[in-house]
Amino acid sequence: MDFGLSEEQEMLQRSARDFLARECPSTFVRALYTEPDGFSRELHRKMAEQGWTGLLVPEAHGGLGLSMLDMALLLEEMGRAVVPGPFIFSSVLVTLALMHGGSSAQKKTWLPRLASGEAIGTFAFLEDTDRIDAAGMTLKAKKTRDGYLVSGTKLFVPFAAVADVLLTAVRTSGRGEEGISLLLIDRATPGLSIKSLDIFDQTRRVYEVEFSNVVVTKSALLGTEGEGWKIMARLLDAAAVALAADSLGGAQKSLEMAVDYTKVRTQFNRPIASFQALKHLAADMASDIEPARALVWYAAHAFDALPRDASRAASLAKARLSEVYSRTTNRAVQMHGGIGFTWEHDMHFWFKRAKWNEFAFGDVAFHRERIAQLEGF
């Protein structure tokens, strides 16, 4: 029984925190906020140098071959620093999809490039129904002699503008979980066009992707035709864990910023941190966050090591952290008083990120119902 981090893991976290303090301070986040793509290829390259983009990639394909728990610890730090960019989608989701379902040719083509940061992937799955269940996957891929003809629209695709490849959930036949297939579609494919969807959280750019008779070769199929849901279900668990980890880091950072602010801000000739109401608010925030950390660790560990409990654990973490992150940033803004409500202060980066994380990949109600089903209530 050892529910703790190894020395290597603690070191990973420390070095990530140092790196991000240096390479992605809030001034950097602020600068990217108004950049057209909200993405810094340079930061991505530097993270690749750290091994982060290849953290999950097996050593054989140029990565570090580390675990989901290691990734969660890294993502916690990235959440702290509210790092903008497609990291989760490229270095977690598309990477895992290739590892779990890719042919050796696909792995050979993409994994080294994703690991090195040379290529960026994203995951196109939502449609206008906004459903993350199998019934939501209706984008038609018509079978042709050489592959598929894809027509329709995917929505809210993260960082489509900078992605080289879109892992796209399509329907090749049937309904429900049967007949879903995953295609690796090059963004430059003719007929594929993207449109930016302007949202408040500018660290998470999303796009509408239109497929207009897009011709995709057979070699783009990831895994078996019609059996894409199995891989996708695994990706949704990974996404839940990843966002929970990001939320944990963000919540912890928001609490620290709020507490630090109250220690220096004075009113009535004393630091406002000495006001009982603010102290108790901070205590409530800490009481939310501390036990939640254990859920993130467990969910990440279960993803790798306890497959039978992985989905439930992912939902536990996502449900709780979604709630905790949003509530924490709301409180943190209030602890800052008026300044926390301004664009000039950094607080709003976390506030907006919390809301994005809350709704992406299943909101609180979605995951609670899923927990109920998995528990067999």
Partner: protein, 395 residues
Amino acid sequence: MDLTYSKEDETFRKEVRAWLKKNLPKKDKAISDLMPHDPERVKRSKDWQHKLFDAGYVAMNWPKEYGGQDADVMRQTIVNEELTLARAPGLVGASGLTMLGPTLIQCGTEEQKRRYLPKVLTADEIWCQGYSEPGSGSDLASLTTRAELVGDEFVVNGQKVWTSNAQFSDWMFCLVRTDPDAPKHRGISYILIDMRTPGITVRPLVQMTGDAGFNEVFFDNARVPRANLVGELHQGWMVANATLFHERNMLGSTTRTQLMMQNLIRLARSHQRYGKPAAEDPLMRQKLSDLLTRVEAMKYHSYRQLTDVMHGRSPGIGAMVNKLVGTELNHDICALALEIMNSYAPLKKGAVRVIDNGTWAYEFMFTLGLVIGGGTSQIQKNIISERGLGMPKSG
């Protein structure tokens, strides 16, 4: 108890409604009246207030001699309700109407009343409030903006913050420190500052929504005639408190909240979650009902206060909770809208695929600002517990 309106009031309401139907500028229709300002909009807003005033629908409860009608509170309430229901834009001269006006009527000289009040009514002069400072938020009385009396002028130095609309205001009613040696509440004066005075710089303070609404205002040896003093020298705290108290105890205006609730229900009926309208989801139904219950409570709570005021009774603690309950309720309504919309929630005004033109996310953030602005929840709770429940100051 009688929840029907008198025939006269019903007739009046119909008149107002008809007038609005005919006169309300179509372009300004919006769910929200809290959208960012731009110069062209300011111009239109001033025209709109002027037009409303000419129709007799502004500051109706003011004394006749200062441009009002000595009307009872019901009349103004009806007008306000109809304005909200018609989704009319907010009055650009609101600070002048609700804060400066009552203060001048109570504490101003006859000359000041005659000079300033008429243009408050017509929005020919727009006013902003100069109270908060970077170093004094909840502890307002610790303000340090200095006004030294040199001859017949105050020489003002310092900084104000959170000044709504300062960028297009003509005047500021302002609290300044005139006696730095006196105890903090006794060295403050209430003065009126022409915003075109040399030495004044306005710097917009962008909100997390991305819009500029608040400002910082800097004073560098700005000279203000002594005649612009309201009330006695060094007695500004008392002068201001009359209107601060007024702000904090404003009759809860719940019409807007009711409108938001209606919009929320409409959204829940139309927006699908997992193949059926959100409003058919048992959990959402519970949450909608909870919010509706709280909205209805505030509606009848405001009727109760209106009745009290009409009968010359103080609504007491009932009025003290308005702001705390109301702003949190508005925020919660927006939060549920976001939950219903999920991935669509953070889309901004004008974005492809946006729902309700991005109002919900905008208002979600803006209402958080309202919880903070004009006295945080924390301060509201101090007021309720101290003035309402007689609990001692925290010392």
